[in-house]
């Protein structure tokens, strides 16, 4: 259920950096049910348990020294009432016991800061340099990259691919994207949130991408690594190859 590329192992819910002993997951969007509720969708709250379980399983499997949450931990939309933060507190407290936790700021994390401070969890904005990696959420353009950075690892985009078979069935798979910007590598992680099925990067035009980092780039040469909690992790080829196999025009 995973694929290793150099020092990075990609598993269905994130990545493990062997050289740093660090586990990375992105886009938890805890409490997304509240956003849905605001737009009139009343979903029973049952997502948090799935997210927590996925992280605990990964901790067990990789036994990391460090866990980095790559932004959008809580899907906040209003104030920070205690009720809404029960789950985040529960998560932070249960993780802290077994591993060092650090958080990179995402676009949804404004009210998270006081809680992290209280729980004594390091918080990075806009990103953090670790070894040869630069970790960001991905909602802002990359400005000055640290000198030594060889690879950028980010979230935010919630990448996915939609594949249609010869009978016309289209199924969506979350994926990681691996590509480059000049001589710096870029790895985009899938969202761990079950409620974020993701952007279909095969049929989305460049302007339809969320991240300003990616919308600057030609995604055609990015490698797609499907990360499906059911099917596992499969290296699929590049975005443009998949587009050709699917008969989707390359010049979207």
């Amino acid at each position: 259920m995973s694929v290793r590329v150099g020092e990075v192992t990609i598993f269905p819910h994130g990545a493990f950096l062997h050289d740093l002993g660090a586990l990375l997951v992105a886009d938890l969007h805890i409490g997304y049910e509240e956003v849905l509720l605001e737009s009139g969708i009343h979903l029973p709250r049952s997502q948090y348990g799935r997210i927590k379980l996925a992280i605990l399983e990964a901790l067990e499997r990789f036994d990391p020294d460090l866990l980095v949450l790559l932004g959008d931990v809580k899907h906040e939309f209003g104030g920070a009432t205690r009720q809404e933060w029960v789950e985040v507190l529960d998560l932070m407290r249960s993780l802290k016991g077994s591993v060092d936790v650090q958080v990179v700021r995402g676009n949804h994390d404004n009210f998270l800061i006081p809680i992290l401070r209280r729980e004594d969890i390091p918080f990075h904005d806009p990103g953090v340099e670790m070894g040869r990696y630069y970790l960001v959420h991905g909602h802002k353009p990359l400005e000055a990259l640290p000198e030594r950075a060889e690879a950028v690892i980010m979230g935010h985009e919630h990448p996915a691919i939609g594949l249609r078979d010869e009978l016309g069935v289209k199924r969506k798979f979350k994926c990681a994207l691996l590509g480059g910007l000049d001589d710096v590598k870029i790895l985009v992680l899938p969202a761990i949130s079950p409620l974020a099925p993701g952007t279909d990067i095969l049929s989305a035009p460049r302007s339809g991408l969320l991240s300003p980092i990616l919308s600057q780039l030609d995604l055609g040469r990015f490698e797609v690594i499907a990360t499906d909690s059911e099917a596992g992790v499969v290296r699929m080829g590049t975005v443009s190859q998949l587009r050709r196999v699917q008969g989707i025009p390359a010049d979207l």
Partner: protein, 884 residues
């Protein structure tokens, strides 16, 4: 007890029971009673529940209102009329409400004028319409001075039940009239109304007289139970007035060309339009039904062209119009008014004119293609001859051979009075959720008491406490991980104390603004990218799933998706290519079970006669006589059956498909897919269930996704290249069918779409929230995501309801079980043909239709790996090309 009205009251008897002024008015205006009036007026006066079924124009509405107006006038002349609502009239159509308002205005005015002449003083009887269109000022007026007769829709009725002050006017209501009940019983709108009626009865504090008015429908006993509901586990009393055959029928099947097979389709269409133009010329006003909205537009276009070319004094542009639900209300209203004024020679409609709005004088109903059920055929034809004793004249134009057989048998059944059975959805938990939310707004309830109220509605008479309680739990925010999230519930519910009630200040608004059962589909308009011409509509949901290059069927033709911009879709014609996307959202009406069985028997009987060597001319004449067809249609039917017979005999097969023999054939198509066709004539809804269950069983065996084609005359499984076609219905266990089907539905587009509808009805997805309409909800979470989020919640009522709705209402799992059982017990058997590279004549319609859906079996891993292999092949091919 449900009983049939036998006592027919004479004109004098009826008049003697009425208020003298009302009786005098009646006799001055009507010299006789119509059949519904002879049977219904007196029982209604005696306080009996009555169901009246008869065609349009037989005086049903007056039959219902005469007694009520008489009683109200008696009260008014004694000065005893109170400021409250005495009678509620409910109809599914706002347009019909306005008609009824006007049709009451006339008699009331006449009666009061007569009263003045006789020197009788009487209070005014007020009647008023209240619908979603009623302005606040008018509602205020109704609150201050309530109408004595309230004319409304099912949705508005459900809203006034919680209106804080207005609802008090409903206390003591004495009569409830449900009009056009035939259009409600088979869908959730009717289920919704059945609960409103019980809530109204609770509010009334008495048992109002219920009067149901219906066009032709069957069985009337069941419709009667639906109307009156249950009390202590037994149906309340109801008297049935069956006047379904009050108007004589003149039906005929017409075929526009001599040879339906070899005549090019463009010529067939042209001849069909000419035939229709000819019918229009020879009648004063013709109502033409097509089965699709796009068909409606095409017929209008061609009729205008043909009739403008003629020399007749007929301005086709002015006198031919379309009427369908995609047109704006304003346009439709204008068309209706012109029709009433007799300005139109022809009006073309899909389904929108089926209901009984007053459309004036129609002397012919023409139908293009098959209406798919005997009952619907009669309801449509019943629109002709708008007065009693006038003939209902119907002409059915057929343009393909399956239609010819189907319509011929349908006309035969209609003429001999064999109607298909209506089916009422049972125990819909989404509709129940809506009502429980509404009841909670009214007051605090003892859950047991509410349960008993719900079970008095016919569709819920068998509801279990467990089912009922699961809806309360869902509404109160149960099924969440943490108890604390109950704060998000729409009601509070205390299982210990057994009580529930309203929670939150938005409860009333949420209920009132999200009421109803009709899913709101957002239609995207589709244009040809090459010339910007409008082609038709697609549902937004369908568009969301398209990728550039996908090909799909719209209005009977194949188009390629280019791009979408908001609600505008651009496509390019790809008429000669095969669709690549199943047409999930077909607007086709399904062939009914009863008619399908008759078609199977008919085809087999004619085949038998041919085989016995009876003279061809004799058989053709017999078909024409028996089914009231013209000679061309009879010959087309004969040839069609003969070809199938010759085809089978040439292969050495001694059987012929019938209601006892299911022919199974395997057709290897040129594109590499193969079709396994099952000739099951059990109605399309049962075919839908059988095909998906079998596709699941076989797909699991071969480890691949299989396509299904669901048709009226059978179904097909579609196997991708390299997979051997296989499978028989006898492999399916009738007792395990529902479970198999449930697995087969996982991940299908059908499930996702229906779940969204159920979630909206069950108030999980609100269409209106905090004062604004919600359209963004789909961007926040797709139906697929929501479905996934609730799929592992044990017993979640809305998911349970989604499966029930699909299996029982959309499909016909019960009939499918019967089919499997008759295979097991040897009452029917499957007969297999060897694989062939031509389809048999009876299969053409099925294999040409395109996929209806795909049953997913291939696991996600295998699918990923297959696509990865395709990429590798692409890369290798590129390298070879580059190297060479």
């Amino acid at each position: 007890m449900i009983s049939w009205a036998e006592r027919r009251y004479s004109y004098e008897e009826v008049l003697s029971r009425l208020d003298p002024t009302v009786a005098e008015w009646f006799s001055a205006n009507f010299s006789s009673l119509s059949p519904p009036q002879e049977y219904a007026v007196v029982p209604i006066l005696e306080g009996k529940n009555v169901l009246v079924s008869s065609p349009t124009g037989t005086g049903k509405t007056l039959a219902a209102f005469l007694g009520i107006v008489s009683r109200l006038f008696s009260l008014a002349s004694r000065g005893e009329l109170e400021d409250r609502i005495y009678a509620v009239y409910v109809s599914p159509l706002r347009a019909l409400n306005n008609d009824v308002y006007r049709n009451l205005e006339v008699p009331l005015r006449g009666i009061y004028q007569l009263a003045r002449e006789r020197g009788i003083e009487a209070q005014e009887i007020r009647h008023a319409v209240r619908t979603g269109d009623t302005p606040p000022s008018e509602r205020q007026r109704q609150l201050r001075r309530p109408p004595h007769i309230l004319i409304t829709t099912p949705e508005t009725l459900a809203i006034v039940l919680v209106a804080p002050k207005f609802r008090r006017h409903l206390e003591g209501v004495e009569w409830v009239i449900v009009d056009e009940i035939h259009s409600l019983v088979e869908n959730k709108r009717g289920v919704h109304l059945s609960l409103s009626l019980e809530r109204l009865e609770e509010l009334a504090g008495r048992s109002p007289v219920r009067i149901g008015l219906s066009a032709t429908i069957n069985p009337l006993e069941v419709v009667a139970e639906f109307l009156v509901g249950y009390e202590n586990g037994r149906p309340r009393d109801c008297l049935i007035v069956d006047a379904r055959y009050a108007k004589p029928l003149d039906l005929k099947v017409l075929c526009p060309v001599d040879d339906l097979v070899h005549t090019p389709s463009a010529v067939v269409s042209q001849r069909m339009y000419e035939l229709l133009a000819d019918l229009v010329r020879r009648h004063r006003t013709t109502l033409i039904f097509t089965n699709t909205r796009s068909g409606t537009e095409r017929v209008v276009f061609h009729l205008k062209k043909l009739l403008n070319e003629g020399v007749e004094d007929l301005d086709a542009d002015e006198s031919i119009a379309a009427h369908h639900s995609s047109l704006s209300r304003h346009v439709r209203h204008d068309v209706e008014e012109r029709l009433k004024r007799g300005e139109l020679r022809a009006i073309v409609s899909s389904t929108s004119l089926e209901l009984g709005i007053d459309i004036g004088y129609i002397d012919l109903v023409a139908q293009v293609g098959s209406p798919k059920s005997v009952t619907r055929a009669l309801q449509r034809v019943g629109r002709a001859g708008h007065r009693l004793h006038e003939v209902s004249k119907g002409r059915f134009v057929v343009v393909d051979r399956d239609d010819a057989v189907e319509v011929a048998v349908m006309v035969r059944e209609a003429l001999s009075g064999h109607l298909d059975r209506a089916r009422i959805p049972q125990k819909a938990l989404d509709v129940l959720a809506q009502h429980l939310a509404g009841m909670a707004v009214e007051r605090k309830w003892d859950a047991r008491e509410a349960f008993e109220l719900v079970r008095r509605a016919y569709p819920y008479r068998n509801l279990t406490w467990e089912e009922f309680e699961s809806v309360l739990r869902y509404l109160s925010g149960g099924y969440s991980e943490l108890e604390t999230y109950k704060v998000y519930g729409k009601i509070w519910y205390d299982p210990g104390g057994g009580a529930f009630g309203r929670r939150g200040r938005y409860a009333r608004v949420i209920y009132a603004t999200n009421i109803g059962t009709i899913p709101d589909e957002v239609a995207a308009r589709v244009y040809n990218v090459e010339n910007n011409r409008y082609i038709g509509n697609l549902e937004e949901e369908f568009v969301e799933r398209l990728s550039p290059g996908d090909r799909f069927v719209l209005a009977g033709r194949v188009y390629e998706f280019v791009r979408a911009k908001g609600l505008k879709v651009y496509v390019r014609p790809a008429f000669d290519q095969k669709p690549t996307v199943p047409s999930w959202f077909s607007e086709m009406l399904p062939l009914s079970y009863d008619l399908a069985v008759q078609i199977a028997r008919f085809r087999a009987r004619i085949a038998g006669e041919i085989e016995e060597g009876r003279d061809q001319g004799e058989i053709v004449a017999e078909i024409a006589r028996e089914c009231s067809t013209d000679e061309k249609a009879a010959r087309a039917i004969f040839e069609y059956i003969r070809e199938q017979l010759v085809f089978l005999r040439s292969l050495g097969l001694e059987e012929f498909p019938s209601d006892e023999v299911i022919l199974v054939e395997t057709y290897l198509s040129e594109d590499g897919n193969s079709y396994r066709v099952f000739h099951t004539l059990v109605g399309r809804r049962a075919n839908d269930a059988l095909s998906r269950a079998l596709a699941y069983l076989v797909g699991r065996r071969v480890g691949r996704n299989l396509g299904v084609v669901v048709a009226d005359n059978g179904f097909a499984l579609v196997f991708p290249r390299g997979v051997e076609p296989q499978g028989l219905l006898s492999e399916l266990d009738p007792d395990g069918l529902r479970a198999t089907l449930r697995s087969a539905l996982a991940n299908t587009e059908l499930l996702k779409r229906r779940f969204r509808h159920v979630a909206a009805r069950g108030l999980m997805i609100l269409r209106n929230y905090k004062g604004h309409e919600i359209r963004v909800s789909r961007q926040q979470a797709s139906a697929e995501t929501l479905l996934k989020a609730v799929s592992d919640i044990e017993g979640f009522p809305l998911l349970r309801e989604t499966y029930r709705e699909i299996m029982e209402d959309f499909m016909d799992v019960e009939t499918a079980e019967l089919v499997l059982r008759s295979l097991r017990e040897g009452r029917a058997r499957e007969v297999e043909l060897p694989p062939l590279n031509v389809p048999s004549p009876f299969s053409h319609g099925i294999v040409l239709q395109g996929l209806s859906d795909v049953v997913l079996m291939e696991d996600r891993r295998a699918m990923l790996e297959r696509f990865h292999r395709m990429v590798l092949e692409l890369v290798e091919a590129g390298q070879r090309a580059g190297g060479g």
